[in-house]
Symmetry: C2
Subunit: 312 residues, 2 copies
């Protein structure tokens, strides 16, 4: 059995995006086993368990990942994770991966896949609402598939936004107001908000929004009026209704699950798509287990590992 302490360093962004795209296509074609994420509440946060099986890659396994918003106070990231990979025909555990860095990368890669499939333009401005780790990996990933002319970044903490800008000196990144950032061609929202941050008036026709932040019941980032105007694509229907951007509007009776257009996987296999150049599209991302399996499967090809004794 192998342990991979830093598997994220072994994969290149283009390979990662391709692995995530293939996993979404398998999902669109119904070629996977994936029960909904399971949540357990803890003091100060929660942890989620994400089991799945992806026959196309002959890989099965589980990601275990926490969300503790106040961890920065003790010098730890909000999110940490481990992924266990099993050999499908015997169930034997074969690999354990530190999934902390991989989780940021796969979330960014999913936003890139959605942007390339749903944005009506191939280049333009990118607005970042929230400027933490997910914003950084999303920026890197979206940059692989979308011609970023200008980045407009807003964060509750101006320092965090400036820090993000300073990490990418070769890009034209501007720290802006919330409204200015929201007026971009493509948006990436990654805040842990429990009330709307992005208002309807700020969003122009033809915008594509990657709504990443809402990933648990009670969380939301977008004015529900945007949802009523927009065409909404989810990563997984059950998970989105339970914990995605739509979860609060559904709970409040402002949005109906049947108004979800479909999944990103269905877009990728050509079954559905945006209806017009002017439509607003939203990718409601909760994070699906098979994308974690797909990138873990990519990472173990070249990653450095420690051999561990495992006597069955």
């Amino acid at each position: 059995m192998r342990y991979y302490p830093a598997p994220e360093s072994a994969i290149q962004m283009p390979d990662l995006i391709e692995a995530v795209r293939m996993a979404f296509m398998d999902h669109g074609n119904g070629r996977c086993e994936m029960p909904p994420k399971s949540y357990v509440s803890l003091p100060g946060g929660d942890f989620r368990t994400m089991p799945s099986y992806l026959p196309s890659l002959n890989v099965a396994g589980v990601k275990v990942v926490n969300v503790h918003p106040d961890n920065r106070n003790v010098g730890l990231p909000t999110v940490m994770g481990l992924t266990i990979l099993l050999d499908p025909p015997t169930g034997r555990p074969v690999s354990i991966l530190n999934a902390t860095g991989l989780t940021d990368l796969r979330t960014g890669a999913a936003a890139a896949v959605a942007t390339s499939a749903l944005a009506p333009v191939k280049n333009g401005t990118l607005g970042l609402i929230g400027a933490g780790r997910q914003a950084r990996s999303g920026l890197l990933a979206i940059g692989e598939v979308f011609g970023i002319e200008t980045v407009k970044v807003w964060s509750r903490s101006r320092k965090t936004a400036e820090d993000l800008a300073s990490r990418f000196p070769s890009l034209d990144i501007r720290v802006t107001s919330l409204e200015q950032a929201a007026g971009s061609d493509v948006l990436l929202t990654t805040t842990p908000s429990v009330s709307p941050v992005v208002m309807n008036d700020w969003i122009s026709d033809g915008t594509h929004i990657n709504a990443i932040g809402a990933d648990a019941p009670g969380k939301q980032e977008l004015d529900p009026t945007i949802l009523m105007r927009a065409e909404i694509f989810v990563d997984d229907r059950k998970q989105a209704v339970h914990s995605g951007e739509v979860n609060v509007p559904i709970r409040d009776g402002l949005f109906k699950p049947e108004n979800i257009v479909g999944t990103l996987g269905e877009v990728l296999i050509g079954r559905i798509g945006r209806s017009s150049r002017e439509a607003i599209t939203i990718f409601d991302s909760t994070g699906i287990a098979i994308t974690d399996l797909a990138i873990a499967s990519e990472a173990v090809k070249r990653g450095e590992f420690v051999e561990l004794p495992f006597k069955p």
Copy 2:
């Protein structure tokens, strides 16, 4: 982060039984977080993910465990597992344990806890239906709480039964017919059967049965007529209805979930119990996540480990 390759060697059976008993009591008192087990089908088997949080021990985590009945053909056990422990206030992963041996032990310990709480006698004959790893650990554990006068063992393979007998030379163990083994004071059934193995006529009043084998939809070991005569105690209601001994009779309309008397935890805290000396009691065990946490928590106190790098 620590990896424990053989944590089962670090715990003594009495401590294990006590840890499992305390976990069941927390369950009876509603002092735990435990979503139902999640199943993923694989070629030739499945794997289960068992997340939970046990505040009394300040431990949270997940066991990942497979069941592949044909693994013996490739020299592997049917069941292998890993347990991940997290620090509840931060969600940080702190330990990974090989849970293969621990799983057998905790299943045996649960049967011992149930036997001491539900059997109407303190000593007598023990019948083993099935003679594999779970039967061996169950025999060891039940021996701690019940005065075993004679063991009657039956297995589909006589050789497996003889092998079990030869491992315990100090005990009076007899390889018998199915009917003779079933006529014991306390029974432990551990077969992977999908149709009844133990018939109603063979079961006397006052018998206590630990029904361990049925742990997935479609599995059953007992003639449903026994269930109608008996008082049934489960480890967890949702899991038992989904995958315990009662799952097939419920599916077939022969048994109603509301006829389950209660949980083992409720027995241990004194809320319920067997109604009379003559009643037949059944402990329907599916295996609950908090017992895995409890024994892992016990094992890491003294187990040998390998230190692993984990950079959050």
